[in-house]
Amino acid sequence: MTNSPIVALHGTPAVAGGNAPSEICHSPLAPGGAHVRSVRDEFHGDLLEVSMGPHHPSTHGVFRMIATLDGETIVKLKPVFGYLHRNHEKIGENTTYLGSMPYTDRLDYLCSMTNNWAYALAVEKLAGQPVPERTEYLRVILAELTRLLNHTCLAGFLLQDTGASGTPLMYAFREREKILDLFEALSGSRMMCNYQRFGGCRVDASPEWLEAAKRLADGYNEFLDEYEALITGNEILMARTQGVGVMPRQLAVSAGITGPMLRAAGVDYDIRKVDGYGVYPRFNFRVPLGDHGDTYDRYMIRVLEMRESIEILRQAFAQLPSGPIMDPKAKIRGFKPKPGEAYGRIEGPKGEIGFYLISDGGANPYRYRVRPPSFINLTVLEDMCLGHSIADAVIILGSIDIVLGEVDR
């Protein structure tokens, strides 16, 4: 965890007074079984420890927050993760370079295209493998579609967390389906795309596919307008999110936060601009920045980023060259890069997704390491939640935008 301001617990967590018929409350939910009541000052009741998750409607998977509450205010929050740990990095070291590609789909299962790209980028760096230009464009198109998809989902999930009976979520999913259909038509799978290869990509996009993608990108602003009319100006949403879960710029930088969360805190850092990987320098787009760093900013930054993504998509469709999609020298099988190390990173929808690889010249990486944006962004959860109510904790968690597959790996 980060160096969060230490919160003094007023004694040990215990149930609120008068709750239980007997003195000690054995909660099946809280760890450690019985809680001992402790003496606090005259005007405060005891603390209540609530274990939210791992099975909870809004922990976005098997995530657990052990929240210590004073009334409904959080005085301590301990995130517990690892329920979805499946040895991703070790598996990566025991399978071939290519064999890890489908596993990267399963990291952040909403954004498999960008995960693929980041991994392919790392391997290409390692092997010094060039990539054809058409593939670079296709990668940008797919990455921006993924950004649309991810941010759309997030907007839906966040609103669902605030209790909006599923309507924004359903609208978000309606649009998401269209992008998933595109992914399916191109890569064969909706979410587990496994599309990129080292030095190219697997399937070429047909003219019909490009036409459909162009139509989607053109129509997406319309959806965003409707969505924003539904919810952005909504007083209830503003009351729920503005000033809630403020992340100071300093904390964001020192905790290594990346992606929309960082930009919502007002830090201008976008790897697309900083690294200029792929063909991103050829596109004209802006990076929206928030001034408050609260949940509303994090939501709005994503909406604005979607609008910028649409711009990038339009430019990419216009500039897309023809040509091969795979470098002729690229190897699918028997791929053994020279010994060395490489770190490939891209601006994923959730932040910096990076892969660090060490090769010893063998068919498997010697070391395979993922830098997951969700996990690192999640580390500031407690700092953002302290002093807010349990209802806020849920939407703060939602605004971080985590996918447990990536957090736990």
Binding site: H10, T12, G18, S38
Partner: protein, 183 residues
């Protein structure tokens, strides 16, 4: 004495008595509320429709909430009474207050000219009549009570608002060092 009266009285007094003897404060509070509902039933039986509904609305609907809140927010401690240094003073105060209330009520009941109604049709008062009485004959009393309650409410607000200076959204101040006791 009709059967209904007996039943109502039994419910009212019984729940009040059981409420006092229970150790579980929530159960006591709920029984107290049942007792209030019994009183409302009594009013209804006596033909005072408006008073009965007002009793239900105010006591079962609102005061009960306050009681339950108080029970929930007060730390429950069995040893409170026993080891309190001023237990004797409390008992004396309780006896004094209870005795005074009893005396006033008793005096009021005894001194009131209660005509023993021979007929089976007691006087019924419509809501309109009651309103006119309240705003006419007893307007002064109503106003005084209203003012009194307003003052009490303001006092409560002032009491509650002091000590809540810290703005929302800030972590509660560190009061004690984080000690973790386990047993």
């Amino acid at each position: 004495m009709s059967i209904a009266f007996l039943i109502i009285a039994l419910v009212t007094l019984g729940s009040a008595a059981v409420a006092m003897s229970l150790r579980n404060l929530i159960h006591s509070a709920l029984l107290l509320i049942a007792s209030w509902a019994g009183i409302a039933a009594f009013y209804l039986w006596a033909g005072a429709e408006f008073v009965a509904f007002a009793q239900l609305l105010v006591y079962v609907g609102a005061v009960s909430m306050v009681v339950l809140f108080a029970v929930l927010l007060t730390r429950q401690s069995r040893v409170d009474m026993a080891i309190a240094p001023d237990a004797l003073r409390r008992i004396v105060a309780a006896l004094l207050a209870g005795g005074a209330t009893l005396g006033v009520l008793f005096g009021a009941v005894v001194s009131a000219p209660l005509p023993i109604a021979a007929s089976a049709t007691p006087v019924t008062v419509s809501v309109r009549q009651m309103g006119q009485e309240l705003m006419g004959t007893h307007a002064a009393a109503l106003l005084i009570v209203g003012a009194l309650l307003t003052v009490a409410l303001l006092g409560a607000i002032i009491l509650a608002s002091t000590g809540r200076e810290d703005p929302p959204g800030v972590a509660p101040p560190a009061v004690a060092p984080p000690t973790r006791k386990t047993s």
